[in-house]
Amino acid sequence: MLSIKNLHASVEDKAILKGLDLEVKAGEVHAIMGPNGSGKSTLGNVLAGREAYEVTEGEVLLDGSDLLALSPEDRAREGVFLAFQYPIEIPGVSNINFLKTALSEIRAYKGLPPMEARDFLKKVKEKQQLVEFDAKLANRSLNEGFSGGEKKRNEIFQLAMLEPKLAILDETDSGLDIDALRIVARGVNQLRADNNAFILITHYQRLLEYIVPDFVHVLYNGRIVRSGTKELALELEEKGYDWIKETVDA
């Protein structure tokens, strides 16, 4: 589904990603771990198309076609979803209206007619229950006055509504208490399917107790320096990132 080859990216002329390779197949969950400043969030932002991130080398293919050539909205329409580390508050834009607009633009891109209002509301209700998102929050302005946990849960609700092929969760676990983490994880597990894939960007192993990954990668200094299965995460937890730094730098 996703094929990243030799990806180099920089922000304000500072090189962050320095030759990253990653293959993600449909049905898989990949966790990307790494110390602060290793380039984890940069990867998410580059894939979503944030302007400040400049790709200097390498390629990213989504189902064989060049993802980097697309605008952020076209990437989303092709099925890429970034759950933001810091979701933005937009007072005055209702959550529901926002989702309706997003869904109808994605559908129009695929040549589908807009959803009937009734079907849309049915879907909203169904997905709210699936990811345990409070109906009262869904009707409010987008993230306005939401707690950190509520914002993260809204990201998962949006993910459920938009049904992307590839979801990238950028430190969705950060700032969540254990109950919120469980709810978010349960939501993601419900959404896992044979035709979609997840990339979990996280600093801690904690999330991976709830969402069990097929692969764990360690990102350090802009490259994936180690890949393995979920046991790698446990090893990391035990030995700390210094262990990686030492082995790589040596």
């Binding site: 933005i88 937009i90 869904l103």
Partner: protein, 441 residues
């Protein structure tokens, strides 16, 4: 033969500047209805206008709003009805059920207006109201106390306009929709004078739309509206500026409120009219008066929209609430000047003012000046002012969900305008304005 030529010159020959043209036309020859008192008011007003002249950018109130290019042009002063019937579709508000009044170049059109008897409601061309008691009482009573030279000029030489009186305790079931049409095949200067009197305990809603007929020539419209609310009266008043680029407006609205009355003004300008200057002055003439002034200006092209407001707290226990939003695109300019006076007697005043601006066009400009002058000591007054641009983080967030950049901008401007549009009591007007915001981007 000679005489005829002279008269002809008077009407159609156009002088180099509007000022000389006006002086030549009206000095010693002001319009008269044969009423001594009115003639007297007009003569005095004309003298005031002559001594003040047109304003220049050297005057604080006109610093960012240069009228010189407008008054340096040639105009006809002849506001006779144009031939043919102007189309009104540009002013139509979906789902609005209202009494419709149409003024073409300031003149009341009985043909285009809905003609129905409504108990307690008097609507007529202003020239038919000269002998009314409340005309004598309120005409030029407040607006002419200001130092706006365009008011003096209007008082002296207006030729048409609208008179509305809502009788005591009358509550109108339907809004009154006034459509001002600019329709002319020659450059035209119009002067319209309106007087709206709300009787005690009366309640009404007045919606005014400004439109330009397709293919109309350049026009400059100097309109003065005087509004009086008697005790306990309530008026919801909407201005919807949707005219074309040929049209230019100097609108002065002077509101005088008596005890326990409520006046709400919703002032909206959209891309189109090249030049719009609104003066909206609210005089809270007695205690326990409440006023709300909401404004939204979405500008484009090379437009200038200038809103000058004054809220004058004269007596105690009054409440005013003002919120204006400007969104400027391209090379347009928006000006906001909000003056609030809290006089010595006006204890327990509650005055709020907020002005938020969003600069979209890199070459657009916003000039904003909140001005509070407080002479009483037991009052609650607050004001705030912000200037910003599109929030790129918010834009990216929306785009990352599949929303196009254009649609994301629409959503964000909607959101920006929401504080103001959400206050519109009339749902049909609110929906219409939200639609115009979307269209205007």
């Amino acid at each position: 033969m000679l005489d005829e030529a002279a008269t002809d010159t008077m009407i159609t020959q156009i002088s180099d500047s509007l000022y000389t043209h006006l002086i030549k036309t009206y000095d010693g020859n002001l319009p008269s209805a044969g009423l001594h008192s009115l003639d007297e008011i007009r003569t005095q007003a004309f003298e005031r206008f002559k001594s003040m002249g047109f304003p220049t950018v050297k005057q604080e109130d006109w610093k960012y709003t240069n009228v010189q290019p407008l008054i340096g042009q040639r105009y006809s002063l002849d506001t006779e009805m144009p031939s043919g019937t102007p189309a009104l579709d540009k002013a139509l508000i979906p789902k609005l059920d209202a009494h419709r009044i149409v003024l073409v170049n300031g003149r009341y059109s009985s043909e285009l207006s809905t003609d129905e008897e409504i108990p307690g409601l008097q609507i007529m061309p202003i020239e038919q109201a000269f002998d009314r008691l409340c005309f004598a009482k309120y005409f030029a009573a407040y607006a002419d106390k200001t130092d706006n030279p365009f008011v003096a000029l209007n008082t002296a030489s207006f030729t048409s306009g609208l008179f509305i009186e809502v009788g005591k305790s009358r509550q109108l079931q339907k809004p009154i929709h006034i459509i001002h049409v600019a329709a002319t095949d020659k450059p035209l200067f119009t002067q319209t004078r309106n007087l709206y009197v709300m009787g005690a305990f009366a309640e009404a809603e007045i919606i005014e739309s400004f439109i330009t007929e397709d293919g109309a020539e350049h026009n400059l419209n100097n309109q003065v509206s005087e509004i009086v609310l008697r005790e306990n009266a309530k008026l919801q008043h909407y201005y919807l500026q949707v005219a074309g680029p040929q049209s230019n407006y100097l609108n002065h609205t002077e509101v005088h409120q008596e005890k326990h009355s409520l006046y709400n003004n919703y002032n909206c300008s959209f891309p189109g009219a090249a030049f719009v200057r609104n003066n909206i002055n609210v005089q809270m003439g007695d205690s326990e008066v409440e006023s709300h002034l909401y404004g939204i200006a979405l500008t484009a092209g090379n437009q200038l929209v200038d809103n000058h407001t004054i809220v004058d707290h004269i007596k105690p226990h009054c409440e005013s609430y003002e919120w204006y939003k400007n969104i400027t695109q391209d090379t347009s300019t928006a000006v906001f000047n909000g003056k609030i006076f809290v006089r010595l007697d006006a204890q327990k005043t509650n005055a709020f003012q907020q002005n938020n601006n969003m600069l979209i066009g890199e070459k657009s400009a916003i000039y904003t000046k909140p001005q509070l002058e407080i002479f009483a000591d037991d009052v609650k007054c607050s004001h705030g002012c912000t200037i910003g641009q599109f929030d790129n983080e918010a834009l990216f967030y929306l785009r990352a969900r599949g929303i196009s950049e254009a649609q994301a901008r629409v959503l964000l401007v909607h959101a920006f305008a929401f504080d103001v549009t959400s206050r519109f009591l009339n749902a049909a007007v609110r929906e219409y304005v939200e639609h115009l915001v979307e269209e205007g981007l």
